[in-house]
């Protein structure tokens, strides 16, 4: 078996040795489509609609990169990946961009040789309880039974949080997330814990979402962001600045509705002019993008706020940490000059 695989590898290697590795941007342009790796289905982040079009917060980012590089947000091939296969798919070149609620950690960044280009969603582990329990803070959960997926970082975070606050709890260990939801629904445990975005998605799947609430404490850091392969700085820069352009759009009040209008006139705020291609942006040619890249992104996909409100507000997720710095959040982007 292994020999066979090795043989297959060598044969394919010989066959493809002729093709010299071009830059990622050239590959994408030559193909006319961006290959984007997304989740197999996560409420708010990536899910197909009834017509089979993928939509969601992470999908929007794929579309934004396609809009910037190809001028058309619809020129995306979506490849779905599970948590276990996403990095190998990226490494194997099945996609140029991994936009799949991926937590940025040291070992993923360094050991797996990939480049995390920023954070598009600050997540963190939270707690959900039925309102009938009458608890307003996670510190009031003394003696509660908690449904917890075994062998995950979630389990460790939970233990650390409760030990640090000197609270006792009864863990109800389970194998999968779906099972945890069923147990919670059946009332087998008082508390359900996972990433806050997942809690909101779970809550929406209940028949009476308003009977439950997510407690204010967030006990872990889960910065989620898009990922690209190591080794092509031009491509990493493109992806990074597409994300920043979406946030700059929100910061400067550029929306999908007014972007064409703002791009056509001379604005007082020179940063808007540079972003929208009215004034020259030094170095843009090095990225290989046309002057209207940001106009394409914002007109076809929208700015960060529009994308967030469209996909995550229906899950009753609030901006919180994901607001811009001036609104008390964590998103602070470098100036575009």
């Amino acid at each position: 078996m292994k020999t066979k695989m090795l043989l297959a590898g060598v044969t394919a290697g010989v066959m493809f040795a002729g093709s010299v590795l071009a830059s990622t941007l050239d590959d994408v342009r030559a193909r006319g489509k961006l290959n984007c790796i997304i989740n197999t289905g996560l409420a708010g982040f990536a899910a197909p609609d009834d017509k089979g079009n993928w939509t969601g917060f992470d999908v929007d980012f794929c579309r934004a990169v396609a809009a910037a590089t190809l001028g058309d947000a619809n020129k995306v091939n979506y490849t779905t990946a599970t948590g276990k296969t996403r990095f190998t798919k990226l490494a194997a070149g099945e996609g140029e961009l991994l936009s799949r609620n991926t937590t940025w950690t040291f070992s993923r960044d360094v050991d797996l040789s990939q480049t995390f280009i920023g954070v598009n969603y600050y997540d963190g582990q939270g707690f959900m309880v039925p309102k009938a329990l009458g608890v307003k803070s996670a510190k009031g959960l003394d003696g509660a039974s908690v449904c917890i997926q075994t062998g995950t970082t979630t389990e460790l975070n939970l233990a650390e949080f409760f030990a640090g606050n000197n609270i006792k709890y009864n863990p109800v260990p389970i194998e999968t997330n779906a099972e945890a939801q069923e147990l919670y629904k059946a009332g087998r445990c008082d508390v359900y814990t996972t990433d806050a975005s997942g809690l909101y998605a779970t809550m929406m799947s209940f028949d009476n979402p308003s009977d439950h609430m997510v407690l204010p404490e967030i006990v872990s850091k889960e910065p989620l962001g898009p990922v690209v392969r190591h080794g092509d700085d031009q491509w990493a820069d493109i992806v990074a600045w597409v994300l920043r352009a979406m946030m700059a759009g929100e910061e400067k009040g550029i929306t999908s509705k007014n972007v064409k209008e703002l791009a056509a006139k001379d604005n007082k705020d020179k940063e808007i002019n540079r972003l929208l291609g009215k004034d020259p942006l030094q170095g843009l040619s090095k990225l290989g993008l046309s002057a209207d890249w940001a106009v394409n992104v914002i007109s076809q996909v929208g700015n960060y706020q529009e994308s967030f409100e469209k996909h995550l507000f229906p899950l009753t997720i609030k901006r919180g940490m994901n607001a811009l710095y001036r609104d008390g959040g964590l998103h602070y982007i470098p100036p575009i000059k």
Partner: protein, 369 residues
């Protein structure tokens, strides 16, 4: 009390005593033969009534068959919300295959029956001509599904999904693994040391490794051997793994069949001066395969259901499509409906396979009649 005395002779048949025949008699004998039986019957009927009433109510009477979202469903009625299926039936069947090109899948699927007919039913008229079509069919199906030739639009494999993906994986795996399995079974019985050792190693390795591991090898490990950017479709890799895996099992099933043939059969063949291939073709395989039918079909059904494992490597089979549908905020939480629908599909196809195998067994059951 005087008993009637019958003298020897012919008398007309009398009807059985009243109350022992017909519906009434059956009910009395089977359901109300004693007090405890009568009690049990009454309790069961009451329980069944509530159960069936609830099930039919949920499935049909209170169910909503078309609505825009789960919330809209709940506003109409509180039974099952089948709208998640009816609104997405295209996705469940074809995955993300472009809507305008779906006729290609329909044709491939329908012609598949024509291609299989001469293989599955030996008595079919014009069998010889149909067999030529069967030979040609794999190329026909490949071109039609993948596109890229004869002006057909090329379709990316990442758009494949749903029942279509299950059928492609299942049928390819089944069709390729049977011949491979036969060869392996013969190889394992061979007198040639190299052939025998290789067959044994292959079979034991494949049987000793969980299928899910092989799928991870297909999706992840192979990438380390292949240069980046190699477009060796994951679909083909997965089909190869499925084929290898089930071929190993088939080989063992057929080996069992071969060993069940009485030794006299081989000796008779040798006495007739048959060579190895003649012996295999006319003596061994016809008998061995007939014995192995239940085992082979068992393996096929297992393989067919195992195709759902591709969900762990990110391919969207019906279960994956179902999960993706549940991730849509509109349909969030309708897991019962979705999973029941997928289960129904698998039940129908697996049941058909097992019925066919029963039919074939009866047809080939020549020695015990």
């Amino acid at each position: 009390m005087s008993e009637k005395i019958y003298k020897p002779g012919n008398y007309p048949d009398l009807p059985p005593p009243p109350g022992t025949v017909g519906v009434y008699g059956w009910i009395r004998q089977n359901l109300f033969s004693s007090i405890s039986n009568s009690l049990l019957t009454i309790i069961s009927v009451v329980l069944l009534y509530y159960l069936i009433d609830g099930i039919i109510g949920w499935f049909f009477l209170d169910a909503v068959f078309d609505a825009d979202s789960k919330i809209a469903c709940r506003k109409i009625d509180d039974g099952a919300c089948w709208a998640v299926i009816t609104r997405r039936v295209g996705q469940f069947v074809y995955g993300f295959y472009p809507e305008a090109e779906r006729w290609r899948i329909d044709i491939t699927f329908l012609t598949m029956f024509i291609a299989f007919a001469p293989l599955l039913y030996p008595d079919i008229p014009k069998r010889k001509w149909l067999l030529y079509f069967s030979l040609f069919y794999p190329f026909f199906a490949f071109v039609l599904i993948m596109g890229g030739y004869f002006g057909l639009q090329k379709i990316e494999y990442s758009l494949f999904g749903g029942f279509m993906l299950t059928v492609i994986l299942g049928v390819c795996g089944i069709v390729c693994s049977l011949p491979l399995g036969i060869l392996l079974a013969l190889g394992r019985q061979s007198n040639l040391t190299v052939v025998r050792t290789l067959s044994v190693c292959f079979i034991e390795f494949m049987r000793g490794v969980p299928l899910i591991t092989l799928l991870f090898v297909a999706s992840s490990m192979l990438n380390y051997f292949l240069p980046p950017g190699t477009n060796f479709s994951i679909l083909v890799r997965v089909i190869i793994m499925f084929t290898f895996f089930s071929a190993a099992y088939i080989a063992e099933v057929i080996r069992g069949g071969i060993q069940a043939i009485p030794k006299g059969q081989y000796e008779a063949a040798d006495a007739l001066g048959m060579n190895y291939w003649q012996k295999t073709r006319f003596i061994t395989l016809p008998q061995a395969l007939k014995i192995s039918i239940p085992g082979i079909v068992n393996t096929f059904i297992g393989l067919y259901k195992d195709t759902t494992l591709v969900v762990v490597i990110g391919l969207l089979d019906p279960l994956g499509i179902g999960r993706a549908a549940l991730a849509d905020t509109k349909w969030n939480g309708l897991s019962t409906e979705t999973y029941l629908f997928v289960a129904l599909f698998f039940f129908v196809s697996c049941f058909a396979m097992s019925r066919y195998s029963l039919w074939l067994e009866n047809k080939l059951n020549t020695d015990k009649k």
